[in-house]
């Protein structure tokens, strides 16, 4: 049998990353602004100066402002990303991967840190690009929250964390083979710990009480509060985060290669980023035969 259809994309596409969701200037600016707001939303307690009493008064309600604002910003980013560059193929792939990611979260929603949700997100961001990774992170968390009933004030922060992990996976340097798997596994482990740590921050101001050694003290300065926060993090969630880091890292080590291969094959077959060119019709005559 002769070659089957020669619609396999060329090597250039197969071996480099494709930007399935392209970051246009407007989307990039929005992404940057949202990220900034997000960073502030997570870390404001550390940088709070001045009036301690006012700070204390707002320690409980400040997170809620971010909880209200972040989803709106995320929605704006998603719509900007979708504009023009998100075609049916990308939507299909997003839907499938988000569903798979959500399904991965169902069997054990975080029991003892076994939460393999990032294990799919990271290879996907790696293969399909940072824009795709960002969107997939958000969607996976939303979908899984809806399935597991995990909707709550923590949701926007989780969405943000996952989006950054997917985005970061798409920014990793272009190495191949064994190094790639090692790099991704390392990234998965680090990302999991960071995710856990950063997510502690949003509720720390009111979650840790007011008079313990790891409580948030408004206006006490960066060093003091960072110290308190690290104590808080170590005592409350680090064990959990470490298990999750190991779980996801090992999963990437073991299953990373076939998953990457499957994603690359899907991306190749869907011919993402292959240009569609309509050549001008060379002086078309109107007398078509057989008619």
């Amino acid at each position: 049998m002769a070659e089957p259809r020669s619609d396999l994309a060329p090597d250039a596409v197969r071996h480099s990353q494709v930007a399935v969701v392209r970051l246009r200037p407007r989307a990039s600016v929005l992404l940057a602004v949202t990220t900034l707001v997000g960073v502030v939303g997570f870390t404001w307690p550390l940088f709070l100066h001045g009036n301690a009493a006012a700070g204390q008064a707002h320690a409980a309600d400040a997170p809620w402002i971010f909880i209200a604002v972040l989803p709106l910003l995320l929605a704006a980013v998603l719509s900007a990303l979708a504009e023009g560059s998100l075609d049916a193929k990308a939507i299909a792939l997003l839907g499938i991967l988000a569903a798979c990611g959500a399904a991965l979260r169902v069997p054990s929603p975080g029991v003892a840190g076994f939460e393999p949700v990032f294990f799919l997100l990271i290879p996907a961001g790696r293969v399909l690009g940072r824009g795709f990774g960002f969107v997939l992170g958000v969607l996976t968390i939303v979908a899984s929250a809806l399935i597991t009933g995990g909707v709550g004030p923590w949701l926007p922060f989780q969405m943000f964390g996952a989006a950054w992990i997917g985005f970061g996976a798409g920014c990793l340097p272009p190495v191949r083979g064994r190094f790639e798997i090692g790099m991704l596994a390392g990234y998965a482990a680090v990302a999991c710990i960071l995710f856990g740590t950063v997510l502690n921050m949003w509720f720390w101001p009111f979650g840790a009480g007011t008079h313990t050694s790891f409580s948030f003290v408004p206006g006490a300065g960066l060093i003091h509060n960072l110290h308190s926060f690290i104590l808080f993090d170590l005592t409350t969630s680090l064990g959990f985060d470490l298990t999750r880091a190991i779980t996801n890292g090992v999963l990437v080590l073991v299953l990373g290669r076939p998953v990457l291969a499957a994603l690359r094959r899907a991306s190749r077959r869907a011919a993402f980023g292959v240009p569609v060119v309509h050549e001008p019709t060379p002086c078309l005559t109107n007398e078509a035969p057989g008619d």
Partner: protein, 541 residues
């Protein structure tokens, strides 16, 4: 209805255009069959009709494709969804829902139709494709032919005016394929749909085809025209057309009935000549496989009922019979899946179900109906290497066998990206590498084009000549006519006929190949036999 004006299409990164300067016009209500060897661009041509080429695949398109007055330059595939319905090879791959009715309604839900219109059209589709008895069945429990009919029905509910089918029977066994094709011809005749169909099983569709598009695939231009004219020079042709060309009949017959009406003179010319004598019936080669009074029961179902059978080295035995007659059960027991309920099964004198896997593959090899299910690596090369490892063969053995079966298969290709024929070749190579004396094939011609079939026939003949015993379970009577030395017909788990292939096949209206039907009562099976006989006649005359 459909018009290609000077269409040239090149995939991104490809050196040569896949379609070059295509001019094509298909009128309203036409059934147009697209013919060509695998890889010639049939799929590309069909996908250009609803704009998947180039909008989905990328690439450069010059010229214009007009469908019902809409150009695929301006209209994207989704804007053509109400005009063009598309059905692919594997129906299960396109299903979204779980139940027949839901699947039929799904297309319309996407188009935003009103519920009462949806309801009505679901009923229409159920009737048109005779699916009403299956309406509440889960899709996964349907047979292949039923699934493909549901897939066609799901497309029809959008009431398109053009139906495009890309080898809709490739993944089906011949009985199911026939079921789908007869549904299709009914749609063309009853509804006046315009249908474009790429198909390997030409013997079934040609009698109904209004026009044929031939893509030669070797760089020559497309040929379009009435079926009988185009088939005269087609490199891919069913036996009937080959026979007509050999005998110089005009107009070229496309159905057995037309051929028979012209066959009188040929029968006279062949009088006195006889086909080559079959392989001697009393072979003295060793018995490779033996079933004695073997019965197999699944719960209350009797799959094999006291079957006794011997297969000797050098024989090619065709096992025929309808679905569920016990063909696959017979093969799987010879392959040692489990011992029979009663009686004995022996391969090379040993019960195959008692053998360790490695010893088993060295004695008997089974190529399953869906060759893909024994392929699980991510490339052809690693598949071959894994096969060597699993069977303890020196590295490179399987790859060498593959090179003999089908030279030039790209080593880095993913097995799922291969064509059916290529996948079969790979599975065959894996099975043949340990050189088992007994080779079993389950429906091996599924999805093969004519060159692929010819290659399979050559390979099986060589294997038999080199002392392998070959058992083929098949519905494909043309394959049996070309390769089998002996035919066994099973019905309800019992052997109802067993004898030289020619005797068994020629005397059955169901199992007779096209040539035999045309030349009955003379026992001719293949066009090659007639060619030989005529040549002899010319030499002597």
């Amino acid at each position: 209805m459909i018009r290609f004006s000077d269409v040239t299409f090149t995939y991104d990164g490809a050196e040569h255009p896949t379609l070059e300067r295509v001019e094509l016009a298909v009128g309203e209500g036409e059934l147009c069959v697209v013919v060509g060897p695998t890889g010639s661009g049939k799929t590309t041509l069909l996908r250009a009709i609803n704009g998947l080429v180039p909008h989905f695949t990328g690439g450069r398109l010059a010229g214009e494709v007009l469908v019902d007055g809409r150009s695929t330059r301006e209209f994207r595939p989704r804007e053509l969804a109400d005009v063009v319905g598309m059905v692919g090879q594997n129906p299960a791959a396109s299903f979204v829902t779980e139940v027949v009715e839901d699947e039929l309604a799904y297309t319309m839900e996407n188009l935003g139709l009103a519920p009462d219109a949806m309801r009505r059209r679901v009923e229409d589709a159920l009737d048109l494709l005779s699916l009403h008895e299956l309406r509440n069945r889960p899709l996964a429990t349907l047979s292949g032919g039923q699934q493909q009919r549901v897939a066609i029905g799901a497309v029809l509910t959008a009431s398109p005016r053009v139906l495009v089918l890309d080898e809709p029977t490739s993944a089906l066994d011949p009985a199911a394929a026939e079921e789908v094709l007869s549904s299709l011809t009914r749609l063309v005749h009853d509804l006046g749909l315009t249908v474009l169909l790429a198909e390997h099983r030409l013997e079934r569709v040609l009698p109904f085809a209004d026009s044929v598009v031939l893509i030669p695939g070797d760089g020559r231009a497309l040929v379009v025209g009435p079926a009988a004219e185009v088939m005269r020079n087609s490199p891919v042709a069913p036996p009937l057309v080959d026979l007509g060309r050999l005998a110089g009949w005009s107009p070229l017959p496309l159905s057995v009935r037309d051929a028979r009406r012209q066959a009188g003179p040929l029968r006279l010319r062949l009088e006195g000549a006889a086909p080559r004598p079959p392989l001697s019936a009393d072979l003295i080669t060793p018995v490779e496989a033996r079933l004695s009074k073997a019965s197999v029961h699944y719960d209350r179902v009797v799959a094999l009922d006291v079957v006794s059978l011997e297969v000797r080295a050098g024989e090619v035995v065709a096992i025929m019979g309808r679905n569920g007659s016990g063909k696959s059960t017979l093969l799987s027991h010879l392959a040692g899946a489990r011992p029979p309920t009663s009686g004995t099964v022996a391969v090379g004198g040993v019960d195959p179900s008692s053998l360790a896997p490695r010893a088993l593959v060295a004695r008997v090899g089974l190529v399953p109906q869906d060759a893909g299910i024994i392929l699980y690596s991510d490339s052809v090369g690693s598949e071959c290497a894994a096969a060597d490892r699993d069977t303890g063969l020196p590295p490179g053995t399987t790859a060498a066998v593959l090179e003999r079966v089908l030279p030039g298969l790209p080593v880095d290709r993913h097995p799922r990206d291969l064509s059916e024929g290529q996948r079969l070749a790979l599975a065959l190579a894996i099975v043949l590498a340990p050189a088992p004396p007994l080779i079993l094939l389950d429906e091996p011609t599924r999805g093969l084009d004519y060159p692929g079939k010819a290659r399979l026939v050559r390979l099986l003949t060589e294997l038999a000549a080199s002392g392998h015993a070959v058992l083929i379970a098949t519905h494909d009577v043309e394959l049996v006519a070309q390769v089998a030395t002996r035919a066994v017909v099973l019905a309800e788990g019992e052997v109802v006929a067993d004898g030289p292939a020619r005797d068994v096949v020629c005397h059955s209206p169901v199992f007779a190949p096209q040539v035999a039907k045309v030349l009955a009562p003379d026992p001719w099976l293949t066009v090659d036999e007639i060619r030989d006989a005529l040549n002899v006649e010319i030499v002597h005359g």
